[in-house]
Amino acid sequence: MSEVKLLGTQSSFPCARIIWALKLKEVEYEFIEEDLFNKSPLLLKMNPVYKKVPVLIHIDKPVVESLVILEYIDETWKHNPLLPEDPYERATARFWAKFVDEKCVLSAWEAVKSEGENKKKAIETAQEMFEHLEKQIAGKKYFGGEKIGYLDLVIGWTSLWLNAMEEVGGMKLLVPEKFPSLSEWTQNFIRVPAIQDSLPPLENVVNYFQVGLNYLRSLSANKS
């Protein structure tokens, strides 16, 4: 009976963040794959408010929302710290994590979904968001400094998952000429052993986003 369980899906990057964190902390866990179109009673019981993955279950108690789960993991297993020790650096890491989830991810997805003239504008908006990340990583190997940390895990989706989004959306966001430091960081990131060993196949993630996009399009077709 595992003390630590993770409800998730292989292709979801918020779930990947948690897998990476558990691996970096050398915590053993049982992964339970969820079908998001047919949510299990366990998922609905453990996350009644949002009904989403990832859900970390530690000694039968649920912990949800990936950024909050990362903080919980860091506080529960104290070796190999993910967040910086210095209060100002911690606040800065948390700020950028929030920015990534509220602005970067959403704007990238908007660029995937949009068509025509709107797509061009959406790509520009998304790239403006990435410029901030480019500035933050310039001159550093990782966002966490010499070793990967909390913010690297949060921005990790810009490696494989962004490639998948670009393929599904028929566009390029992370252009190496525009974002040389961020592009280099994605390559350094996926070479970290704990990360490399846990990357899902690209075609699975492409499929995952394509299914998601088709679903959203069908919802708006039904509304109009």
Binding site: V64, E65, V68, A91, R94, F95, F99, E102
Partner: protein, 233 residues
């Protein structure tokens, strides 16, 4: 050398109030620099170039943005007074999770912005729908209160903590909305724990000395409605 703490903000903003409450609980002296949230000053744009919003805490020249992150920063950076976040990881998780829920911008889960929707509801049916959602949210928060408080008077236990601040900052504006709609949102018959908590919180100096009085907020609200701009930042 004493540290220099400045807060860029505006006193009617519940997000600014959060930071003021945290500073007060930790007995930290600071200078409040009034900013007009609708006319962004050079100073604000320099301190928060990415999001261009208040509040911004400036500690010895370094800016920290986003109200809940600032509260966590204050807890991390100053050891005086009780911790704002619980020391137990599971309790800290609950505090963070519910604070996130309270601030959720996802349209399916918004709680506080529903009050604006309530005011703007075009029909009685639409109004009832919004009211139902608001009370659903309050019932969830009642459960959260019972879990987090563990029988004590605040979400943080004996002392006001992170989640008390996260929710409590809205109590001033909630009273304004109650006055304008004649609806009692924190109803003892529906959410007794929350109703009792609100009474205790609002009589505490942390609230009384930070949040402007209801009548002042009503005046501000009417003035802003007259200008056709959103009420709080």
């Amino acid at each position: 050398m004493a540290s220099c703490v400045q807060l860029l903000g505006a006193s009617p903003s519940p997000y600014v109030n959060r930071v003021q409450m945290a500073l007060k609980l930790k007995s930290i002296e600071y200078e409040l620099i009034e900013e007009n949230p609708h006319i962004k000053s050079e100073r604000l744009l320099k301190a928060n170039p990415v999001l261009k919003k208040i509040p911004v805490l400036i500690h010895d020249g370094e800016p920290i943005c986003e109200s809940l992150l600032i509260v966590q920063y204050i807890d991390d950076a100053w050891n005086n007074g009780p911790s704002l976040l619980p020391s137990d990881a599971q309790d800290a998780y609950l505090a963070r999770f519910w604070a996130l829920y309270i601030d959720d911008k996802n349209v399916d889960f918004q709680w506080y912005p529903l009050y604006k929707e309530l005011r703007e509801a075009p029909t009685e049916e639409a109004r009832k729908e919004v009211l139902d959602k608001i009370f659903e949210g309050l019932v969830l928060l009642e459960k959260a209160f019972l879990k987090c408080s563990k029988g004590k008077q605040f979400f943080g236990g004996d002392n006001i903590g992170y989640l008390d601040i996260a929710l409590g900052c809205y109590m001033g504006w909630l009273k304004v909305i109650e006055e304008m709609t004649s609806i009692k949102f924190l109803d003892r018959s529906k959410t007794p724990g929350l109703a009792e908590w609100a009474e205790k919180f609002c009589s505490h100096d942390t609230f009384k000395e930070v949040v402007p009085e209801t009548q002042k907020l009503v005046e501000i609200f009417k003035m802003v409605q007259g200008r056709g701009k959103p009420a709080s930042g």
